[in-house]
Symmetry: C2
Subunit: 558 residues, 2 copies
Amino acid sequence: MAEKTIAEELAKEMKQTSVAEFFERNRHLLGFDSKIKAMLTCVKEIVDNGIDACEEMIYECKRKRKDYVLPEIHVKISKAGEDRYTIRVIDNGTGIVKEQIPHVFTRLLYGSKFHKKKQGRGQQGIGVSAAVLYSQLTTGKATHVVSKTGPDKPAYFYDLRIDTSKNRPEIVNEGVIERFKWDHGTQVELEILGTYLAKGEKSIYEYLRRTSIVNPHVRITFIDPEGKKVIFPRTSESVPKEAKSIKPHPYGIEVGDFIRMAATTKAKTALTFLTHDFSRVGPKVAKEILEKVGVNPRYKPSQITREQAVEIVRIMQNTKFMAPPLDCLSPIGEDALRKSLRTELDAEFVTTVSRSPSVYKGNPFLIEAAIAYGGSLPTDKQVKIIRFANKMPLQYDAGACAITETISNIDWRRYGLSQTGGRGIPVGPAIFLVHMASTWIPYTSEGKSAIAHYDAIMKEMRLALQDCARDLRRYLSRKHKALRQQQRTSTFIKYSEESIKALAELTGEKEEVIKEMFNKLIEAKTGGAPQISEPAAPKDEDFEEIDKFIKEEGEENE
Amino acid sequence: MAEKTIAEELAKEMKQTSVAEFFERNRHLLGFDSKIKAMLTCVKEIVDNGIDACEEMIYECKRKRKDYVLPEIHVKISKAGEDRYTIRVIDNGTGIVKEQIPHVFTRLLYGSKFHKKKQGRGQQGIGVSAAVLYSQLTTGKATHVVSKTGPDKPAYFYDLRIDTSKNRPEIVNEGVIERFKWDHGTQVELEILGTYLAKGEKSIYEYLRRTSIVNPHVRITFIDPEGKKVIFPRTSESVPKEAKSIKPHPYGIEVGDFIRMAATTKAKTALTFLTHDFSRVGPKVAKEILEKVGVNPRYKPSQITREQAVEIVRIMQNTKFMAPPLDCLSPIGEDALRKSLRTELDAEFVTTVSRSPSVYKGNPFLIEAAIAYGGSLPTDKQVKIIRFANKMPLQYDAGACAITETISNIDWRRYGLSQTGGRGIPVGPAIFLVHMASTWIPYTSEGKSAIAHYDAIMKEMRLALQDCARDLRRYLSRKHKALRQQQRTSTFIKYSEESIKALAELTGEKEEVIKEMFNKLIEAKTGGAPQISEPAAPKDEDFEEIDKFIKEEGEENE
């Protein structure tokens, strides 16, 4: 028998790695690279899912004209040993049917959201099963899940592990429990290796606080490892309008997606496939496109060849279509944005901008931005940046995020902030907030803590920030003018003392009378000495910068 | 029949997403977020695999005491339309057996490297199938693969697509071709949407150049879209020593991995499981650990409970073990590092450091660093940073990389470079180079262009850079001293002219004679006026910084 080639020997070692094994080895991709971050990631993944489930419940009830309850999220973290914590989260959302519970919590890339074009907190079907995977990796404990889907339904429980080689559930225990907190909802309890941060930018407290602010219809109760209870109250009874599921927009649709859609569509002809299955494609344009590539509009969609698909996609990307419908996105809104910034500090000045929706790679998205200025913020530190994606705070990987990158690329000197060389994070007493809402957020990793650098997204971020920046510049400029006016007035008053005395002596008139005349004069000349509070006055160099650019106001790059 | 609960309705939408579908949607995770980057990623993934296959061939031949051929890589890029390019890469590696070809090129997470603890360029089984996926997504074309495993074997070809919903191959065409360039090897040809950069930091040219420098035994031929041929010659006939496959080191082993290993080990007892299946675990320590957690050393490994496994792993991480064996890692080496920097510029000064191996999460790794200074580099720009991982250049995502972060966290002012506030990338005429070699590189995303921020790794990077930095400081300090000496000498010479004249007049001796005496005196006093080249002299402030810290030399944080 012939000797084996090296390739034959290597062939024996070839095998498929399961997605669970891949992420087990690469757990930093999921947000589990440090014990502090791991704690936050676990809580975040479960809470995000919980809020999604609560909103699903409400929207479905609204559609059916039924009564509904507003979202409640309970989070409890307790110490379970050295560097070990138990995390328990309960929501009053839809609940999960018994048969699906093991799959939802143990299978990576399993869920209902991936194939929907709909703005949601979860999107990939990785989050909560990643938390279960991390718990299993670090403590070996099973995850305890209880779920109830309605008042007449039993509350089922499962103790679950992941069979990582198969990416499938391993059911340790299951049954029914007597009592559940609400009529419907889900409870998740897992034990992990972690480090608990009581406060600060990257803490769970901060995550819940920011989540509560941009989701004012949600009531969050938090019990920390010391047993202290904090309630983030519901500050609005009104539920944000539902983000609608939409069809893919022709801009940026991928050939692969197009072919898959053509193979599985219910449309009978190529023409109706284009007009029904895509957003904003009218029959006239559709017909033109099909004719250009030599596809008979009455063909079956599945008859479109791969080469024709490539051509159709290319032409669609170069054809003018309306922007996607507005109602597929749910912004935070200017009120909540303002409030969010007001709770950060007692700002002198807050400005907010909500851009109209735009599209990247077929996905509609919308950018909101806000800038707060002054208050008790330090004047010699970099501005604070607060990032949100689909109403969830982003607390890690700032350096990798498109938001940070966009801010660094703007020349902030022209808007009244200091910045070395016109690049990098500017310095000044300000907070910048940016929110991206989209049917699909392109995260830089599965851990969902930073937004990838797509040009179309960064352009919208830049325009939103520049809008805010122009308001800031106007404010700083007015403030500077007022300051100068005040200075002129006080100089005038200072010198008038002498003049009043001299005039009184010369005329024989009483000093008070002459003073009164002077005051009237001052008022007439200055329009009343403006009284402005001055907690953190910008330095004069700042104003020179502003003055230099104030003439260019109209010529902003837009 | 009762009305369906909302949870029941949602349940119908639940499904498993395939890993290919996931990456299709998130292609930026694979390095395909822009057309420029996509080109580079495709070439890189195929070339990296090619070099791995060539080295496999050589090491196997060496083990069998057979003759071998040195690695050859041919890369050809040709224009195929507007924004479209055909990429063809041929290597003279092992080749792939016929049955495996479709799987290797179309299944994500498929391969022989994932479960090996061995330093290699590929590690995840994603790279090349990701390139095929991107080609299919953007041009709809099938990928053409030819492979031959030995002189007597036929060269098989396949035209392949990915069935993304199943993560399985779709064979479009297959057969045998008559002629192949070498006795064994693989050829991959695919067409993609891309943008070709002829030169620059992020170009394919730069990737191949840097790859060639740190892999001097590889000969690379490159034909660019204009038909221009560049050969990166082989500069060394000696093949680097083979990186050995090792057993996991007990530091940082995960509970999940431990349990999987215990379930599948060939060891008959818990004791031999620990001593045979882990690196550096001796029988005495193993016995102590097992007894501590109440496991009889003669138990079968599969009898270890999950709770006991958690305890064993915890204790192992707190027990002293030897560092992993050195021969599992293959460094670039000081020669190639120096050469790499010398080709970047004609530096005045180059220093290199190779740290001893260390461990993060059970994976041995090793950091090499080098600093080049001076030459024609600009003095007012940030230093240039060159990053490598397992001998592959990293050209993207610098902001997200542990190397950049480590450099930013060092106070470079104490080593003679300028840096605002002692943080951030320093400014000066220098190039920093850092290489990480490991059995498992923790990339920040599947696109493999940045290293994740693990503390243990960043600590080693810092120590390596500080080692280089101290050499740099010494060099700059000597240079400064020499400069001052030179100044003193020239001052002395300037004044001596007058004295010589006066002395000649007084003594009646010839000026030449007295000048000769003076020259001898100067030489004796100064040890010879040092002649140093001065292409980019550091500013005096730099030296003040250096002088200030020069006394602390011995107390460096180590």
